[in-house]
Symmetry: C2
Subunit: 184 residues, 2 copies
């Protein structure tokens, strides 16, 4: 039995996600992805056009921020911290983005857009202060992306060793203050 077009496409996409997540855009080669998918490199071009479009398909992403309306106000930081860790570990999409955004201006722009459009509105709603909401969202980003960087990319041992509970316990109050606390 020969594979269907959709099967092959999915298999390429899966291999691409793994490679991009592990190595970033530049170090990932079409040839390596093709080898992982047990396919000829030219098939990758046939299905995705070129490397950039393949990356775009592999990095398609949504933060899936939870609805916080039912959460007690003093648990917002903790809830958000827990969500971020889970979202980060759920699949490789954020890893793909982060590993590439660092050396690719287009992808960095995409990351800016994701955080502005998904975290921004949340900050407006929670802080009730549109004037400082963007800054509050930015601060949350510094802490959460910093955690991701140290835990999943640089793998600093003390950060890797933290349990989900540890993360929530330490970072929750930080996010809480950034989002709904008084100005710094």
């Amino acid at each position: 039995m020969r594979r269907s077009s959709e099967d092959t496409k999915a298999s390429i996409l899966g291999a691409a996600r793994e490679r991009f997540a592990a190595d970033g855009y530049d170090r990932t080669t079409i040839r390596a992805i093709a080898a992982d998918a047990a396919i000829d490199p030219s098939m990758v071009m046939r299905y995705f056009g070129n490397k950039e479009k393949l990356f775009a398909a592999a990095a398609d992403f949504d933060l899936h921020l939870p609805d916080l309306s039912g959460v007690p106000e003093d648990r917002i930081g903790a809830t958000l911290a827990a969500h971020f860790v889970e979202r980060w570990e759920a699949d490789e999409a954020l890893m793909v983005l982060l590993r590439t955004a660092v050396t690719n201006e287009d992808v960095a722009g995409r990351m800016r857009e994701i955080f502005a459009s998904q975290l921004g509105p949340l900050a407006v709603k929670l802080s009730g202060d549109p004037a400082t909401a963007a800054r509050r969202a930015g601060l949350v980003a510094t802490q959460m992306l910093g955690l991701a960087l140290c835990r999943y990319v640089l793998r600093l041992p003390p950060v890797v060793e933290m349990t989900h509970q540890d993360v929530v316990g330490w970072l929750g109050p930080t996010l809480q203050r950034y989002l709904v606390g008084r100005d710094g």
Copy 2:
């Protein structure tokens, strides 16, 4: 007048630092560095052996953590936050490291070592608790590297727009809690 060996070497090193900081290891080419230094690519090899050794020379780095013994205990977080921002903006060394560590395991290891050996002892001294010191140092790293990532690499607008004072005001209390606060 022909340039001296030292002049050329320094000029190559300067160009290398700029390129590595702006583009990361992979996207930086020996040829581009040589062009910036107005020199033939083969001179780079003559003086530094190969690309890896050139990178090692360009990424030589010290956090230069300040002596905090004269600082009032409740100002430690703010002092450290201010120091980090200034250190980061003083030269390109941290940028070189960060941009490359994300896709290069050796450099990531070097970053681990830098934070463990320079931030670790500080945490021991400040928290007075060797058992949790490593974790505290790790938490500080998540916040400071996250700030650097968002401010200098991803350039999230709200984070870029913060003044040094803003950074100290918001992140100071976070670092304070991570270093000398009660457990999370």
